[in-house]
């Protein structure tokens, strides 16, 4: 079952020009380019019946921001990885393919500053306070310092 499953994902990955690695049991990582992502995700749903999106993680990779879509079916977790440049953090939204992604994309937007084009709620804040200063870096980037965030948010409170 599991071997067939990996081969099925491998076929989809090859078609999308993506690299597949399976470092641990039942953990499959697929690196997909931004422009192939939507196609790959819809193929996963239609051809391999993987429709349950666990969550979307952001990652600070130095020059780039990594975005991981964690899908799950039966015993296997499929992590679809993609990157966007930190200088221009714009990614495509998959909300129309996987409607459950809407809040996860908002979370990555809040925490890493990535804008998902096509998400209707992306300009709204989900987790960060309304008083979050615009010039502060998004909080989960490695350059962001908790002490600085605390100081600036305190200032915003005092302003009110």
């Amino acid at each position: 079952m599991s071997e067939d499953f990996i081969q099925q994902i491998q076929r989809l990955a090859t078609e999308a020009n993506a690299k597949l690695t399976a470092p641990h049991k039942h953990q499959i990582f697929v690196d997909v380019e931004q422009n192939k992502l939507r196609d790959f995700v819809s193929r996963l749903g239609n051809d391999a019946a993987i429709r349950h999106l666990s969550t979307i993680s952001g990652l600070d990779l130095g020059q780039d921001i990594g975005i991981i879509y964690h899908f799950w079916r039966e015993r296997d977790t499929v992590h679809v990885r993609t990157t966007v440049p930190k200088a221009n953090p714009v990614a495509v939204s998959i909300v129309d393919i996987v409607p459950g992604a809407i809040l996860y994309e908002m979370e990555v937007h809040d925490m890493f500053g990535v804008t998902f084009t096509g998400n209707p709620w992306i300009d709204k804040k989900l987790l960060l306070p309304d008083t979050w200063p615009q010039d502060l870096p998004p909080p989960l980037l490695k350059t962001s310092k908790p002490a600085e965030i605390r100081k600036r948010l305190q200032l915003e409170v005092e302003k009110e």
Partner: protein
Amino acid sequence: MSSEPTEQKRRVETAGLIEYSAENLVPFGPIHPALKEPEYFKLILEGERIVEVIPRIGYVHRGLEKAAEARTWVQSMYMFERTCGICSFAHSLAFGQAVEGLTVYEVPRRARYIRLIIAEMERIHSHLLWVGLMGHWAGFETLFMWIWRDREVVLDLVEAICGNRIHKSMNTFVGVRRDMPENMEDRIVERMKFLADRARYYRSVIDTEETMLERTEGVAKLRPETVEKLSAVGPMIRCTGIQKDIRLNDPYAAYDEIPLDIITRKEGDVLSLLRLRLDEIVVSTNMITYAVKHLPDGPVRTKIPPVMPVGENSSHIEAPRGELFYYVKSTGGRTPDRVKARTPTLANLPTALEMLKGQTIADVPVVLTAIDPCFGCMDRMSFLETETNKQWTWSGEQLRQYGINYYFPERARK
């Protein structure tokens, strides 16, 4: 019937989906310090009916994912345990399993059984707490009092095994920190029988008591397509007839070694969630009884070095509320490079918004409680009626009373 000039109606910024004016907007939430998880909902109404809901969360965002980057692996485990005050063991278990996957060590069999026992006890106490809260919000205070009394039974057992009632600090990497105390078997079996009897009794109460049936039967019906589409988790997906449970589909701890019985229901309304969770309590008591009687001998932990190998891994478990997901990335240091946690409430939030559509204001407390959110902040709810330019604010208690009066006018308090 005066026709107000429409330009006077203040247009409110929308999600870009529909346009609505201020008279239809009910802000709902966000905070009450005594309660668990503040959330805020903008309810957009047409008369009494809700047509759209926009969520706003993050009022208690504590930045744990960021904090983990400055802590060692072991410190992170006990910090993540404090994410939740109800399913604390689930958090340390999911994080622990994700990190254990990076290493080459295997969890001892006895430790896997002990993990299962504590995880199931946690499910019992979480479900009991939730059924009690449902009683409270539906106006059935006696049920709340009785259930919370019975909940003490399972909390006492947890305390006897772990030393703590809530933050058990029982897990460690590749095992558990404490062995089961001696001579606990008979006591656990006896208490489990008591809890199963109580759960069956509450099940019969809910099936016959008019107060609960009136407030929950047929309310906020979910369809299987909706929950699949929105990636819902836990009881929310099982109440529509889909057999999806990580204990069954992707077994962890000792779930592949003991008889499993996954409860599903077909109806998808709030009542089916109540019945499903009470049945799950009975199933959990059976699992604990079986696990205690078949507890294998051997060590409960393996000592491992505090530095984790390079790599990335994820783990998910069936917490009381549904799938709890952790992703970890290690660069070989003493601290994690990245930890991502996703709690079941966030996964179920889009489904809750879907459930609220078409319901009345009176149903809001019951429907929002139905997803078993870490949530209860009903205070600070304000209403605005533009035609008469009347504005008023309701406390959580007033909202609860409104719901009860709406359904049972004869019981209205003078």
